[in-house]
Subunit: 300 residues, 2 copies
């Protein structure tokens, strides 16, 4: 299969750099084709602006959505944007790998999303009617592809637990996993998060690679997060609130996951006996407070 | 008072450009001193990298946290970073104004945070002990100052409601309000969010300015969001989970707000009779589903 790794760290001789090389080797070892967008090495332009449309009248008012649409429809997008869109079309799976900086992705990667997700490609796809609100949240240009986050964090796992001070990691990643990946159609796999990066030694790095490697081996068989499809009947259109009888009385990000959804509906490419157990394990891991004591260490 | 407006939109002739001019005029009309960091106009460098430390050995391994610390401690930070830190020291209040792009701030503003929040300034402040985990979440270099978001969104308010498909706006903004503003010590005011920006006409713009203007007039008297202080006893140290007897049985971002906290503890500069009612109204508005029907319109 074809895999695009979009990677955002400024230093190759970093933990992230080592993990990037591990990921590429592991995936290629499994027979996959891998392309890497190493954003810092590419000198990726982070800021979306008028220069992203090549035929823009420089005196005209710049409208990010309208100018993006025009450029996408008329073949006048900046060449760096076109290259990344082509990589996404080529890919069967996308991996975004980054350090968690200020509880989100680095600016350079956010700018990749903003510029590559053109109007007509990443959003603005499909029709609006009484029954549909565009092709998004489970439908869209990137439907049928898989996506997964590989994230490092300086803080402890308990700081990102269900009652941890930073907020639960699943909630911190929701705007990315649901709002950026599921939005244009990706099936989103559970994230792989490495905590306490300041306390990484050779043994822990080996264990980290072992766990990550097993995740990568099942990239095309792991059950995706059961986000609810926008146009599948769960949401009122056009208000787009979740139907009152679903997750009744609850609010927050979690209600947009359908825990009752059978795995067979989740576009699982190669269902296997281990997956249900793995999904349960993942859920338990993610939803359980990290009560174990840790050695000393700085959070950031 | 002194107010820093950090503004991130590429086009002056946009809704955000108009709102920026309104904000500056209103605040100056109230006798405040205002500085604007217009990131696009400044050509702000979004990507954090080794060039941010002027005396770095270009052959050495770049460590974002260690190099930032060295540069901050030794006066070798890039000049653009120093200027923004000086503006923050000068300011009594910070306003971040931006369009919500992919459910977060634009890349150029994220890069302002990453670069200006140096190690020793935005994080890495204070000591770690059995009773403290650094000066953060309510303490830090920027304690005693106020901060507020002014955000525009293309989508409908109901899409960002408690059960809206995008996720509740308060949860989407939590990583910014709690993780970026409260973290180094700001008292964070409720955000001002303008929805459905594609449907803005003169009458609605006037109404928007009227509401926003009244918020700005109370910038130094509105009760901040009652985020819980990290080192105030609510969290176990070093695990940093919320004590089991607080918000018992609950999880998620919301538990880090202490709804029982009296306003008098919240560093309210000029308490007034209207505030309690306003806070209640704000809370009701934010936590109530937007059930009213809307006219047609595109979400993005």
């Amino acid at each position: 299969m074809n895999i695009l790794l979009v990677y955002a760290h400024p230093e190759p001789r970093s933990l992230n750099g080592s993990l990037k090389r591990f990921i590429v080797d592991r995936l290629e070892g499994q027979g996959h084709a891998v392309q890497v967008s190493d954003l810092y090495a590419m000198g990726w332009k982070a800021a979306l602006d008028g220069a992203d449309r090549l035929d823009r009248d420089p005196e005209a008012r710049f409208a990010p959505d309208a100018d993006s649409r025009h450029a996408f429809d008329h073949g006048t997008q900046s060449a760096d944007i076109v290259r990344e869109q082509d990589k996404l079309r080529w890919a069967d799976a996308l991996i975004l790998q980054f350090p968690l900086w200020w509880f989100s992705m680095p600016a350079i990667l956010k700018g990749w999303v903003e510029r590559v997700y053109a109007n007509g490609f990443g959003y603005g796809v499909g029709e609006h009617s009484d029954a549909r609100w565009g092709d998004r949240y489970g439908e869209g240009s990137l439907a049928g592809k898989r996506a997964m986050l590989v994230v490092t964090a300086g803080g402890w796992e308990s700081h990102y637990g269900p009652r941890g001070i930073n907020g639960p990691i699943d909630d911190l990643l929701f705007p990315i996993q649901h709002g950026i990946l599921y939005y244009p159609g990706f099936d989103v796999l559970p994230p792989h998060v490495v905590y306490r990066t300041g306390k990484m030694d050779a043994a822990r790095f080996a264990a980290t690679c072992d766990t990550l490697g097993r995740r990568l081996d099942k990239l095309f068989s792991t059950a995706p997060l059961p986000f609810r499809r926008q146009n599948g009947g769960d949401y009122a259109i056009p208000e787009l609130g979740l139907r009152p009888d679903l997750a009744p009385g609850r609010t927050g990000f979690g209600i947009h996951l359908d825990d009752a959804q059978p795995a067979s509906l989740l576009h699982v490419a190669q269902p296997g006996g281990e997956q249900g157990a793995e999904r349960e394990q993942d859920r338990a891991r993610r939803h359980e407070a990290q009560a174990a004591a840790h050695a000393e260490g700085l959070a950031q």
